[in-house]
């Protein structure tokens, strides 16, 4: 049975962006894509330094092989010098070296801080997510509320968290609670928008079917709207995950929380002149954290949906 004849035609041929199989996006291709980009980045990075950075002076022994390499780049780019763009291997070495004299390696310290930030971000994510979903459900059932309040939901995101964060910190005495609040503030918006879309994405005919059963609004919500909204919610969660981490980092910096990545950034930024690799290492850790949370959401989605729904790419 070819679906050309079997599917009902859409009125004016607009593609249904939410359905359709992921074309060949196997894990191998994803890994390959990541590898290509990482290698490309590496080449660009060291290539720029090779062309216009500081002189290369490598005298090292790797696996018993003595390497002496000196190179004077022909051009001079300030961005490529060792202060602005440390060598990749210097950054890697910064992870391994102790953060303080006689202390554990920086990588370990950063991981601990990353975990702390992740915990705050996740707490904020959960709160913001619940709030967002709640708002979405509220707006779906009340058009008036939606028209009255959604512009403010959108506008709330234009208020820079830089402004909100200090106010929240002063208002809520506890440090970690205010960080959580800032993270929640950034997460509730994408989740609200996503849940609005998802709860509304119900097939009108399915809605009519439920009404014909004289189903209550609650039943329609639980049995129809919420299951339909799952792929959209996860698309929103992906955006919210990144937002919650940013919120946590900024919140930490404002509240002066010492055990998270936010303070690590401030700390190593102060000592940038003497050890630029450390700041870079911290930022790499932030990146890893963001990707980790993102990947966790994807895995959670795979588990929850178990192939029953096709993921919606992006929020839009």
């Amino acid at each position: 049975m070819t679906t050309a004849s079997g599917s009902l035609p859409r009125a004016s041929g607009r593609p249904i962006a939410a359905t359709g199989p992921r074309p060949g996006r196997s894990r191998r291709q994803r890994v390959a894509g990541l590898a290509v980009v990482l290698v490309g980045l590496l080449v660009l990075w060291e290539g720029a330094k090779w062309l216009g950075g500081d002189p290369w002076r490598i005298h090292a022994t790797i696996a018993g092989v003595q390497i002496d390499y000196e190179h004077f780049p022909p051009l001079k780019w300030r961005i490529a010098d060792d202060l602005s763009l440390p060598h990749v291997w210097d950054i890697i070495r910064a992870f391994v070296d102790p953060a303080q004299r006689g202390g554990p390696p920086l990588g370990v310290v950063l991981s601990g801080q990353a975990a702390f930030t992740l915990a705050e971000a996740f707490a904020g994510f959960v709160i913001g997510g619940l709030l967002g979903l709640g708002l979405g459900i509220f707006f779906v059932h009340s058009r008036l509320a939606e028209r009255a309040l959604v512009p403010y939901v959108v506008a709330s995101q234009t208020v820079p968290i830089l402004a909100i964060a200090p106010l929240v910190v002063v208002a809520i005495k506890a440090d970690w609670l205010s960080v959580m609040a800032v993270a929640a503030y950034l997460t509730f918006f994408p989740v609200t928008i996503a849940s609005l879309r998802g709860l509304r994405a119900v097939d009108p005919r399915a809605l009519e079917l439920f009404r014909s059963y004289a189903a209550s609004r609650r039943q329609i919500l639980w049995q129809l709207r919420l299951p339909t909204s799952v792929p959209y919610l996860f698309a929103g969660f992906r955006v919210a995950a990144a937002a919650s981490i940013i919120g946590a980092i900024i919140g930490e910096q404002t509240a002066g929380v010492a055990s998270g990545l936010g303070s690590a950034i401030i700390n190593y930024n102060q000592y940038y002149i003497s050890a630029p690799e450390r700041l870079w290492a911290t930022i790499v850790m932030c990146t890893v954290l963001g990707l980790f949370f993102f990947g966790a959401i994807n895995i959670a989605e795979a588990i929850v949906t178990r192939g029953r729904y096709r993921p919606v790419e992006g929020l839009l």
């Binding site: 593609p15 060949g24 894509g33 790419e313």
Partner: protein, 258 residues
């Protein structure tokens, strides 16, 4: 059109006015000088008195936001076009681009600051451009490729070339997606610019100004600056919406028919 638009916006405007009035009146009658969020009239007062400094900040931060926006959108569109052309490139790079939008780009602000120095526009412009690049690229690709298979077959039956298919089918199809990304990009750009200034910038830039004023508990002036930053974000967003109505007038009508 204007009558239904007024009806759509009326509830929101009413809420705004009501809240504004209620806030002002309640604090006035209670005789309390709210610490964290002052009365609207007090904020308005600071707005007027501090206007010379604030306007410099708006221009500076605004330039960062708009500049980064333009660069990021342009690059994102070009890369999206290039990537969607070859299916292999697309399937390799699209997941990476989606994943890259999960990276807290703001964390790179100290680095760009060290590269370009605190007085320059470039640190935040770079951050904004990178923040905006990924959503635009992802949506450009999706808009160019989320085409109905039957439409592709139709054009194939006309023996249309790749560039003809791009111009006549994929391009127009992608426009709604692109404009959605543009809207998101506008709000991201202002946030990126202001928050990026947290790590350093001229004294009058909005981000530094807000941080300093809140640090000294001078909340009326801080809120004046916050209101301006907000207005900038909303303003840019509305510009994007207006542009969309101009370029794809049919989209709004189609949405309403749904």
């Amino acid at each position: 059109m204007s009558r239904s638009a007024a009806r759509d916006w009326a509830p929101a405007i009413i809420v705004f006015v009501v809240v504004l009035i209620a806030w002002e009146v309640s604090l006035l009658t209670l005789g309390v000088q709210s610490f964290l969020i002052p009365r609207p009239s007090v904020i308005a007062g600071s707005l007027v008195t501090e206007w010379p400094t604030l306007i410099k900040g708006v221009l500076f931060t605004g330039a960062e936001a708009v500049g980064g926006l333009i660069v990021g959108v342009a690059l994102g569109t070009v890369c999206g076009l290039a990537t969607s052309r070859w299916a292999s490139a697309r399937e390799l790079l699209l997941p990476v681009a989606i994943g890259a939008s999960a990276i807290p780009i703001i964390a790179f602000a100290p680095i760009t600051l060290n590269w370009f120095g605190p007085e320059s526009l470039l640190p935040r412009m770079t951050i904004v451009a990178v923040m905006v690049f990924f959503p635009v690229m992802v949506n450009t690709i999706r808009g160019l490729t989320n085409v109905e298979p039957a439409a592709l077959e139709l054009l194939s039956s006309y023996a249309a070339s790749e560039s003809q298919t791009l111009v006549k089918l994929r391009g127009p199809n992608a426009l709604p997606y692109w404009f959605t990304a543009l809207r998101i990009a506008t709000t991201l750009s202002v946030i990126g610019a202001v928050v990026g200034e947290f790590f350093g910038g001229p004294l009058y830039s909005l981000g530094i100004y807000i941080t300093l004023e809140t640090g000294h508990s001078r909340y009326p002036t801080a809120w004046a600056a916050i209101v301006l930053a907000c207005a900038m974000g909303i303003g840019l967003y509305l510009v994007a919406v207006a542009l969309e109505r101009l370029v794809i007038p049919w989209q709004a009508a189609r949405e309403m028919a749904r």
